[in-house]
């Protein structure tokens, strides 16, 4: 296993959408998610995590140690004897494992963490052999993401479209076109915030510096391999990373997040492009020990 990361990180992601639906709400007929009270748009944490998983899966193509556990479709079946190499166990010791070895859960946990990037990053829940082996049934990953929220209230526009091909014979008799609906957001900038805990990386999953670089890459490119009819034009515009000087961090996360201010420019009533916004970083609010990096 590679060495785990040694610093706490916080990061801010700014991404925008143009004429697309960034994240549909199953409760509202797949309209873009909106916080009903304020009108701000939402994108859930799990939506972004899916994009990150997909990117890693696309780039790494099942490379050893970078596989993805929660997949969208059925991959090629591959045999798995990597565990033998990793743990140095053979048939005999595996049989002993089955005899309710109290450490079995932990070995399995480490095996899963070393093989699967998404478990190492976000954690996972596992069934356990040994009852009440609390630590092993649940792996908490070092990376935490909150919901993304738009900078301004959004409006969701319904676009009705037609289709000339009819699905069923019965319908073909009495109509010549089918109607469909698309919900789009004309334009919006969203902001998501995330956290990386070095302690969980070191003590639980072994999330390394290379993994972290891959995470930044995945965030920057998360929409590049995710184009579809529904999504419209989506792009990550900013990834601002705060690197603390130590594992526990140097200052409260909210102070760092507050130093990144995104405002609509004056005189712009309806933002329709990224240039309509100003991103200002108040460096005076960031302690000297915290390193700020703009990854894009």
């Amino acid at each position: 296993m590679k060495e785990a990361i040694k610093n706490r990180y916080e990061f801010v992601i700014l991404f925008d959408v143009e004429n697309g639906n960034p994240n549909g709400d199953p409760d509202a007929g797949n309209m873009p998610r909106i916080d009903p009270e304020s009108g701000f748009g939402l994108v859930t944490d799990v939506c972004l995590k899916r994009k990150i998983r997909n990117y890693v899966e696309t780039v790494k193509e099942d490379e050893e140690g970078y596989r993805i556990y929660i997949r969208e479709d059925v991959p090629l079946n591959r045999s798995d004897s990597e565990a033998f190499k990793y743990l140095g166990v053979d048939e005999k010791s595996v049989k002993e494992l089955k005899k309710k070895d109290p450490g079995a859960d932990e070995k399995i946990r480490d095996f899963m963490c070393s093989n699967f990037y998404d478990i190492r990053t976000f954690g996972a829940v596992m069934t356990t052999f040994v009852k009440a082996a609390l630590n092993c049934g649940q792996v908490r990953g070092p990376v935490q993401l909150g919901f993304a929220r738009s900078i301004d209230p959004i409006i969701s526009q319904e676009v009705t479209i037609t289709r000339v091909a009819i699905t069923t014979e019965k319908d073909a008799e009495n109509k010549s076109t089918e109607m469909g609906r698309k919900n789009i957001v004309p334009y919006a900038v969203y902001r998501a915030e995330g956290y990386v805990s070095a302690n969980l990386a070191r003590k639980v999953t072994g999330f390394s510096e290379d993994d972290l670089e891959l995470l930044w890459q995945a965030i920057i490119n998360m929409f590049e391999n995710d184009h579809s009819a529904a999504r419209g034009k989506m792009a990550v515009r900013e990834l601002i990373v705060f690197k603390h000087s130590k594992e526990l961090g140097d200052c409260p996360a909210y102070k760092l997040f507050e130093s990144v201010e995104v405002t609509r420019k004056e005189g712009i009533q309806y933002a329709r492009k990224y240039e309509d916004y100003t991103v200002s970083i108040h460096e005076d609010r960031i302690p000297d020990t915290v390193e700020m990096m703009r990854k894009i």
């Binding site: 199953p26 409760d27 916080d35 009903p36 009270e37 859930t44 799990v46 596989r67 993805i68 556990y69 929660i70 997949r71 969208e72 479709d73 059925v74 991959p75 079946n77 591959r78 045999s79 798995d80 004897s81 565990a83 033998f84 743990l87 166990v89 595996v94 494992l97 089955k98 079995a104 399995i108 095996f111 899963m112 093989n115 478990i119 954690g123 996972a124 829940v125 596992m126 069934t127 356990t128 052999f129 009440a132 609390l134 908490r140 935490q144 993401l145 909150g146 919901f147 915030e193 956290y195 805990s197 302690n199 526990l248 961090g249 140097d250 200052c251 409260p252 996360a253 909210y254 102070k255």
Partner: protein, 220 residues
């Protein structure tokens, strides 16, 4: 109460799941003592101490919102992993298409609390450990915003902002409400028997915006 501490915590969303509604998750009206303990443990914990929550102040009004998400319904099967050990030709993954399920969660939004707590020493403390030492570390971490991992309100996607609360008089959203009965709430889990962890409940009554947990009757 020489080793007491007050921590102000706030965030956009929170979800303290009611155990009787776990599938379509529904939050309690206020933070449970066990969630408060988890938040403090994310800041500092050591085997030689245990956190005891004394009071929870509800600083902002209780408001709910609903979010429906796609989730997977299964856990990683340890048995499958074990057979992969044996070199079995089994694919090792969860297909989100086959395991998909849509679940709504009823969340609290725009929450703020003040947690008042103290810690007690346990038998596992080393010889060099003493309450003063722990207290110093805790205070230092709260002032600098240091934490072991980012604390969260019930679920990891709802991060907690925290700072040390230095005011003596805490204004709550329910200062004028003499009594609000919140019914039975989860108090915490009883870990004394590791093989059989049991939940403990208590009758939560919020008086003038404060949930007092000292000497409350715990039902197992």
């Amino acid at each position: 109460m020489a080793v007491g501490v007050k921590v102000r915590v706030w965030g956009d969303y929170a979800l303290f799941s009611r155990p009787e509604m776990k599938v379509e998750r529904c939050s309690y009206d206020v933070m449970t003592p066990s969630a408060a303990r988890g938040i403090l443990e994310a800041v500092y914990w050591h085997p030689g101490m245990k956190w005891v929550i004394d009071r929870i102040y509800v600083v902002k009004p209780i408001q709910f919102t609903s979010i429906r998400r796609n989730e997977v319904k299964s856990k990683i099967s340890a048995n499958n992993v074990l057979s992969a050990y044996n070199g079995a030709l089994k694919p090792l993954y969860i297909s989100s298409k086959a395991e998909i399920v849509q679940r709504a969660s009823l969340l609290l939004c725009d929450v703020e609390y003040v947690i008042e707590a103290h810690f007690e020493m346990t038998e596992q403390a080393n010889e060099t450990d003493n309450p003063g030492k722990f207290k110093d570390i805790i205070m230092r971490r709260l002032r600098r915003g240091e934490c072991y991992h980012t604390p969260y309100f019930g679920c990891r996607e709802f991060p907690v902002n925290f700072c040390l609360c230095e005011e003596d008089a805490i204004v709550t959203a329910y200062d004028g409400v003499e009594e609000k009965d919140l019914g039975y709430m989860l108090f915490d889990m009883d870990y004394s028997d590791r093989a059989n962890i049991q939940p403990m409940f208590f009758r939560a009554v919020m008086k003038n915006g404060v949930l007092d947990l000292r000497d409350c009757e715990v039902i197992r």
